[in-house]
Subunit: 204 residues, 2 copies
């Protein structure tokens, strides 16, 4: 039997669906059981409590996101290349997992202490290398002076916000589902240009 067919995995799969679309408070154990096609008692048999099942789903989701961040932080390419690659890759990734950013941001806000449990994990993104690279490119005259933290938050903001605020942005810009998708797709390049334009010194 494949791993994907075990009851335990079917539960996690169904729980992911329900928790990510309805959040911890809105999710119902019965709905998860129904979606997994098993008895509700099994949820507790394998995961003991709603809280623990939720944490399993959350850690799973975060472990999907973290490598996306590490990609930009830990490789050796130039800041410009990092930004271009990240902006394109991240957007593609999010188009495949549209619930993910909202789920994570939201549940972290609901329980701020929760992130402490993640910090211990190996693989939690670390900015040091990125900062060093930014500072050295500034010294070399490739980039205009900018605080690396600020730049990093700007990169995140421009990439994540269109997914977080999708309903709002859709309404404000009067786009339907199809044109919103095209809008986000074009941001893969637009956002990178926008950032680079701002931080790169003009070539003499």
């Amino acid at each position: 039997m494949k791993k994907e067919e075990t009851t335990e995995h079917q539960i996690l799969d169904a729980a992911k669906d329900v928790f990510q679309s309805k959040g911890m408070d809105g999710a119902r154990m019965q709905e998860i059981a129904d979606k997994a096609g098993i008895n509700k008692a099994m949820l507790h048999y394998y995961y003991r409590s709603k809280q623990l099942l939720f944490e399993a789903v959350f850690k799973n989701a975060f472990s999907l996101l973290a490598p996306q961040l590490n990609a930009i932080l830990n490789d050796d390419s130039s800041i410009e290349d990092k930004i271009r690659k990240f902006t394109s890759d991240y957007t593609s990734f999010m188009m495949k997992h549209p619930y993910l950013p909202n789920f994570i941001i939201n549940e972290l806000n609901r329980n701020e202490d929760f992130i402490l449990k993640l910090k211990d994990n190996t693989g939690f993104p670390n900015l040091e290398k990125f900062k060093t690279k930014v500072d050295s490119e500034i010294r070399e005259g490739i980039l205009k002076p900018i605080d690396a933290d600020q730049l990093f938050v700007n990169i995140l903001a421009l990439n994540i916000f269109p997914f977080l605020g999708k309903p709002l942005v859709k309404a404000l810009t009067k786009k339907d589902e199809k044109s919103y998708k095209a809008f986000v797709e074009s941001r893969k390049i637009e956002v990178a240009n926008f950032i680079i334009n701002s931080i790169k010194t003009s070539i003499k």
Copy 2:
């Protein structure tokens, strides 16, 4: 008796607290009643149902946010001035209402149709004037070519994200509450510069 002391207003006030920090699903009618210091039956007496009380709170919150957006969209100043003013004003405003962005974004995601109820309201932000201004400044050579929708979303993203993703950003940049506040405060100017740098043509 002042308006602020009526039972109806006390309920709305308490409901705002609870709904904004716990969301629709996490909020409890009993907690709202307790916080307002009145009997739970009064909530239904004045607002009939949890759903309607929630909608009252939500519309109230949105009507606080909408003018902030309209400020940048509807005045006659240059795009640069709009951006500088908005970035500073919006950040100040959000520091006073930290739960607001998350509440709105979140509940709009929970129920996409909900925004339709707001769209009808007069005062729902309209981008037309902003777009016209952007296009005319591009034609005048003040700005580099950029799609006005993209620019608008970038402005929103850079301003709102630090509030939406506060727990995540705090953890990633390893800032405590105090230094995070300073970080956000400095963005009032940093973000405006970041945007202007990117879109303004270099002066010959």
